[in-house]
Amino acid sequence: MKKIIILLSTILLCACSPDTWNLDMIGLVSGSSAGIDERIEDSFRYNDEHGMPIIHANSEEYKVYVATDTHVDRTRTNWKQFINDYRADANCPLALHLGDLINAQNHWDYMFEPVSTLPTNPMKKDTLLVVAGNHDLYFNQWKEYLRLFKTSTYYAIVRTPSGKQDLYIFVDTGEGILGSKQTDWLKRTLTWADSQAFRHITVCTHTHLFKRDSSQGHTSNMPLEETYALLHLLKQHKVEMFWCGHDHSREITNLGSLTSIIVDALFDREPHPAYMIATCGDEPIRYQFINLPSNGN
């Protein structure tokens, strides 16, 4: 009996590692943050008051820096490196974060501090646009996300000096679905985009659509019905790019004219952290990945 108690105690103590406490296990049964339809209302309220961002690029061909899954907790080395890199690039008007900014609660201000303090290139303006991931919703943190980033369902237009426009649409898939209200909004937005002659249309979100490479294991994604309905919408409106994260390992999938990219995680303790630089010009969008060192264990 003593042996059993010692064994059980050991297992329990092992389970009490700091990383275990970072997981909102109650979320297995019921997520603690507001559901998608309520979050959409919060996002739309901000959008209605402030409008959608319009960003001016300095040239016809510009770069977009894309990071995801930084999972900032006790370190933020790669996150700071990413911010330094995009701010130093004179041809980058726009940087994106595709969700999971933090790992768990109590790290929002630590994560946000470099965004508000690190210097940018004096020759340009840049904007950081963000969408919420599932870790950003743990422990009822949607309110914290809203405090800093205000909205998670919106679009942004990048306008070049000659007046060409590119559209970036951000959708919240923090619980693996778009929900009916957000789907309706996405349909309306894409229908409107059809009449606007955008040069490129890119949809950015957190949760991935597919997982073709099983070598790194699988992560949860959307129910299949939701996957197919979203794919149909993207195909119907000739969306060029679908950028996402969540899975932590890079995967590029071409389906007809759509390219879906799972961007690597930028988490410090990831074995191969990386971010993406997309080059947007008159040709189809090109992309490259910048590897950063793994920092910590």
């Binding site: 997981l23 909102d24 296990m25 979320g27 297995l28 049964v29 019921s30 997520g31 603690s32 943050s33 559901g35 998608i36 599932n134 919703l137 743990y138 923090g174 619980e175 693996g176 679905i177 929900g179 009916s180 789907t183 949760t207 597919f210 997982k211 073709r212 099983s214 699988h218 992560t219 949860s220 994604n221 959307m222 129910p223 299949l224 019905e225 939701e226 197919y228 309905a229 794919l231 149909h232 195909k235 999938t253 071409n254 389906l255 007809g256």
Partner: protein
């Protein structure tokens, strides 16, 4: 008007002689029909109608075939081949499934092959396997390789617990799985089911089942995604 029509259709079809949950241990050929009401946040409310046949070819081999049509224009057809081997308690089996789902409304078709091993006895049934999925854009352009996506490896599982022995004239079960007769989901998308059957006599059986499909469970942010209630009859020959 459409809703009333739908309700009438559901009642009429629900009264058709129909048929059944697979009853482990049964050596009777059977056919079944069910009508179901479904809701999910992607498609909203919709109805589904399914027809199936259970064929115990001999004591070591059984087959099952299923067809489902839905008002969402998402239809599926599947076949299950099940070699089985009796062990001192219960039965060990291998299940090979081929499922095709046509999502006409979305312009996609998926083909899923699943191979699993399982064990079933009076009160518990357990199954573990793997699946391969092909996703095809429809209409498929054979000259364009980018119209197809392969998810080569995923895990399938099923755990079902019964309250009564299989030979009982009635039974209720609770089940957690990432597949039903009409869909095979990815590993992190479980589906929870409650099934009940009542054998009216040696031929007729009535079935009732409910299904709940949450989303985001393994995002650790679980919310409601979809549900289904199905009712129908089975006839064993």
């Amino acid at each position: 008007m459409n809703k009333r029509l739908l309700l009438i259709c559901m009642l009429v079809v629900g009264m058709l002689p129909a048929v059944a949950q697979v009853q482990y241990g049964s050596n009777q050929y059977a056919v079944r029909m069910n009508i179901g009401y479904n809701h999910n946040t992607t498609y909203g409310s919709h109805a589904g109608f399914d027809f199936g046949a259970f064929m115990p070819i001999n004591e070591h081999f059984e087959m099952q075939a299923d067809i489902r049509v839905a008002t969402t224009l998402t239809h599926s057809v599947g076949v299950q081949l099940r070699p089985k081997f009796a062990v001192p308690v219960g039965e060990f089996y291998i299940e090979d499934r081929l499922l095709s789902r046509v999502l006409a409304r979305d312009g996609y078709c998926e083909l899923v092959q699943a191979l699993a091993v399982g064990y079933r006895m009076d009160y518990v049934s357990f199954q573990l396997g793997m699946s391969t999925r092909l996703i095809l854009s429809v209409p498929y352009d054979w000259h364009d390789g980018s119209n197809i996506i392969t998810e080569p490896f995923n895990v399938t599982y099923r755990l079902e617990v019964f309250v009564r022995p299989q030979t009982s004239p009635w039974n209720i079960s609770l089940c957690a799985s990432n597949m039903t007769d009409y869909q095979i989901e990815r590993i992190w998308q479980p589906i929870f089911m409650a099934n009940g059957r009542y054998n009216i006599d040696s031929h007729w059986q009535v079935n009732l089942s409910a299904l709940c499909k949450p989303t985001g469970m393994f995002h650790l942010n679980a919310k409601y995604y979809g549900a289904e209630v199905r009712a129908g009859f089975a006839y064993a020959f």
